[in-house]
């Protein structure tokens, strides 16, 4: 049986004269994501994107699942395609939508006809098909206002399409249409969620992870690689930079003010991330900071961290509760990996009582007493290991 996937544009439909470039971007992403499944024809007609397999062997379940992770699409539906003959359409509707119709108590047929030579008009088609379905599924009744299940029939130029209600798509804006940003990935619950949320708004990402062996282990780094692979179906391929951060971190521990350690370290990380952003064409940083979640994320601390470098810092989780963040982490399947107990560099050397309201002046004074830090940061950025997540 031939099937087709239809994808409905989201916000990009509002883009006026720029709309075409968004459409091109999302179709390019669709083609790339489905490439290894086989040949598809992907085209756009009247704000609906059609994804047609060119062979019957293609795994359409897999294709549909991948389409649900394409940002820029507000909704999707999966249609069965048949000849434009009423008996065929009726038979198809009965089998293709059996699950949905069996699960529903009420239904409605919605018919559309773009081929005006088809002998029945939309009303007649809806009635006839409705009647056939009532016969085949005696438990059903028709409800034209709030049906449990809608049966769509579209008579198009070359074929008839039969499909159930649309399902929600990933939403957001097509990948790469918003530019590129560096996301600081720690391996915890928050940063992968932050990465996903910003990717959703159309950003291409590159990951930046800080490793401090022997204080942090290979397993902590592997955790971040695993998390990156969980993001991959949503974001498309990206680079993950693993920065060897032991020297700067030890230097801060030895020469910095102990109660300010965490903020000093975070500022250092932001500066290194800025260097990697400038070098690789990213225009912003993304972090998983959430206001008041931990000592280094009080307002005063964030003011200090923010002042470390010039690029805008995007903090999608800033207003979210931990429980809300966790819900997303579970939905995108990063939660279980994030809670594996391998120490990351954010928690080593932490003083027992960090200062929760640091002042920028004292932070700058502490940094003035660490003149060699800049060079260590430069070296760390230059030595970053580049891992291709693809």
């Amino acid at each position: 049986m031939k099937e087709v996937i239809m994808a409905y544009q989201g916000e990009m439909a509002l883009k006026g004269l720029n709309r075409k470039s968004f459409e091109i971007a999302v179709m390019k992403t669709i083609r790339r994501r489905l490439a290894d499944l086989g040949k598809f024809k992907v085209y756009n007609a009247q704000s609906t994107i059609y994804v047609e397999p060119e062979s019957d062997e293609i795994d359409m379940d897999e294709a549909y699942s991948r389409m649900q992770k394409v940002f820029g699409l507000a909704a999707l539906s999966r249609a069965a395609v048949c000849d434009k003959d009423f008996a065929t359409i009726s038979a198809l509707a009965k089998t293709y939508l059996a699950d949905e119709l069996n699960a529903a108590k009420t239904f409605k047929v919605v018919a559309r006809r773009s081929d005006k030579t088809f002998p029945m008009n939309s009303m007649e088609l809806a009635c006839e098909l409705g009647g056939d379905l009532l016969d085949a599924f005696p438990h059903l009744t028709v409800d034209v206002h709030h049906p449990d299940c809608q049966v769509f029939v579209e008579i198009r130029d070359y074929a008839a399409y039969v499909h159930p209600d649309k399902v929600k798509g990933a939403g957001g804006m097509p990948t790469s249409t918003s530019g590129k940003a560096s996301v600081l990935l720690s391996g915890g619950i928050d940063s992968p969620v932050a990465a996903w949320m910003m990717a959703k708004r159309g950003l291409s990402i590159q990951g930046v992870h800080f490793a401090s062996p022997p204080y942090t282990s290979e397993r902590a780094k592997q955790k971040v690689v695993d998390l990156s692979y969980k993001l991959l179906p949503w974001t498309g391929s990206f680079k993950l930079f693993v920065v060897p951060f032991t020297e700067p971190q030890v230097y801060i521990r030895d020469h910095g003010v102990p109660v300010l350690f965490t903020v000093l370290m975070r500022r250092s990380m932001m500066r290194v991330a800025e260097k990697l952003s400038v070098r690789y064409g990213a225009d912003a940083l993304i972090t998983g900071e959430s206001l008041a979640q931990v000592a280094s994320q009080t307002l005063k601390a964030i003011v200090c961290t923010d002042a470390a470098q010039e690029l805008p810092v995007l903090r999608p989780l800033i207003g979210m509760d931990k429980s809300e963040i966790t819900e997303i982490a579970r939905a995108i399947d990063t939660f279980d990996i994030s809670i594996e107990p391998f120490e990351d560099c954010c928690t080593i050397f932490t003083p027992p009582h960090p200062k929760t309201r640091p002042e920028l002046a004292e932070i700058l004074a502490a940094e003035a007493a660490m003149p060699e830090l800049a060079a260590l940061e430069e070296a760390a950025a230059a030595a970053a290991e580049k891992i291709a997540i693809e």
Binding site: P213, P214, Y215, E218, V250, R253, P341, E343
Partner: protein, 376 residues
């Protein structure tokens, strides 16, 4: 490479690996089959049974092959609980058991047994008098570790079993012998011990093979059903290549227990002296522990940090114990040691492949690590 984590697992003896491969490719028959390839496989399994039995001075019929030490523990403990459930009310156990025993007993406790765990004291010793005091007429099972895997505390299984018997002749007595088999001399022929668990991969066999000694006339029910292999106690087609390998390991290492123990004592003493010379390192293992295991705490450096530092130099030791994936040591916690000492504890464990060079390299690396790595 200096592999000093032999309590976690050991390097597979190349001779044994070769034997395993040969057996795998030539003795492929199912030991239950009636024709020649089956009979040959069965004969090989029986021979291995005798070889393993010999290391315990036990009869071949008293050896059941399993997949690992944990499985042996499970079969023995569940069997003992079932067997005594009509009259027994409590189980006495040493308070530093491996999860294969501790977790299994927790499962058994849920069926109505009181678990009396006798914790080690701050020196790592088990007060055997306290253990015996906990045994009463309603004790259905007494279980203890031959050699504790985290700190090496050594209990004489036969002596303790005799004393338990004197107090309660009905209780089952189980010994987790995984860390002691073929490392310390053992003679189970007196029949004081009902069950004894051992594992192949701690003695240079591949992972996936163990055995359970069950005293003749000590009957327990199996924990799962199947084709009746291993007298119904561990159904499933026998893992012929691994069984044969375990038998060969027993034959190879059984006769040299005493010489290897003496050599390991020498290495252990060398290491203890080296650590003592460094002033602020505390030894957590008791002085009379098995020389195969040495647990010590470093001043202020976290275990995991030092472990990775040593790893970069290809020196492999353990923090906590391997199966806890870096969680705090149960035994050290049970000893009541303070947090700092537990968080900085390392475990070194020897095998007959260890030598002086390993000890020297470890000491040198510890020196370097202590001077370079973070103090809390």
């Amino acid at each position: 490479m200096h592999y000093l984590d032999n309590a976690a697992t050991t390097v597979v003896d190349p001779e044994l690996a070769q034997l395993c491969y040969t057996t795998m490719t030539t003795l492929f028959g199912n030991p239950s089959s009636l024709y020649k390839p089956g009979m040959e496989a069965e004969r090989a399994v029986d021979h291995a049974r005798e070889q393993v039995g010999a290391t315990l001075k036990a009869a071949a019929a008293e050896i059941t092959f399993t997949a690992c030490g944990s499985e042996s523990d499970n079969i023995a403990l569940q069997g003992a609980a079932e067997r005594t459930k009509k009259w027994a009310k409590n189980i006495v156990v040493t308070g530093y058991e491996h999860p294969a025993v501790a977790k299994t007993l927790a499962m058994i406790a849920a069926r109505g047994f009181e678990i009396r765990a006798v914790a080690p004291d701050s020196t790592g010793h088990i007060d055997t008098q306290a253990f015996l005091d906990a045994v009463d007429k309603e004790t259905g099972l007494a279980a203890f570790m031959f050699v504790n895997n985290e700190i090496g505390t050594l209990l004489d299984p036969v002596v303790l079993a005799k004393q338990i018997r004197a107090k309660n002749s009905r209780a089952s007595i189980h010994v987790d012998g995984v860390q002691g088999w073929c490392k310390h001399p053992l003679d189970l022929s007196g029949g004081f011990i009902d069950s004894f668990a051992l594992s192949g991969h701690k003695m240079h066999c591949p992972k996936g093979i163990g055995a359970l000694y069950l005293r003749k006339n000590y009957h327990i029910d199996p924990i799962y059903g199947g084709g009746g292999q291993e007298r119904g106690l561990r159904p499933g087609t026998e893992n012929v290549p691994y069984i044969v390998t375990l038998g060969a390991a027993a034959a190879k290492y059984g006769p040299t227990v005493k010489t290897r123990l003496a050599e390991t004592s020498r290495l252990n003493t060398l290491l203890r002296r080296g650590l003592a010379a460094r002033g602020d390192i505390t030894i957590n293992s008791p002085a009379d522990a098995s020389p195969y295991v040495l647990n010590f705490s470093l001043p202020g450096v976290r275990s995991e940090t030092m472990l990775h530092f040593l790893e970069a130099k290809e020196i492999y030791v353990s923090s906590g114990s391997a199966c806890s994936k870096g969680a705090a040591s149960r035994t050290l916690t049970a000893m009541g040691l303070d947090r700092d000492r537990i968080d900085s504890a390392l475990r070194v464990s020897f095998s007959d492949t260890s030598n002086e060079e390993d000890v020297r390299a470890l000491l040198a690396a510890l020196d370097e690590g202590l001077s370079v790595l973070s103090r809390r």
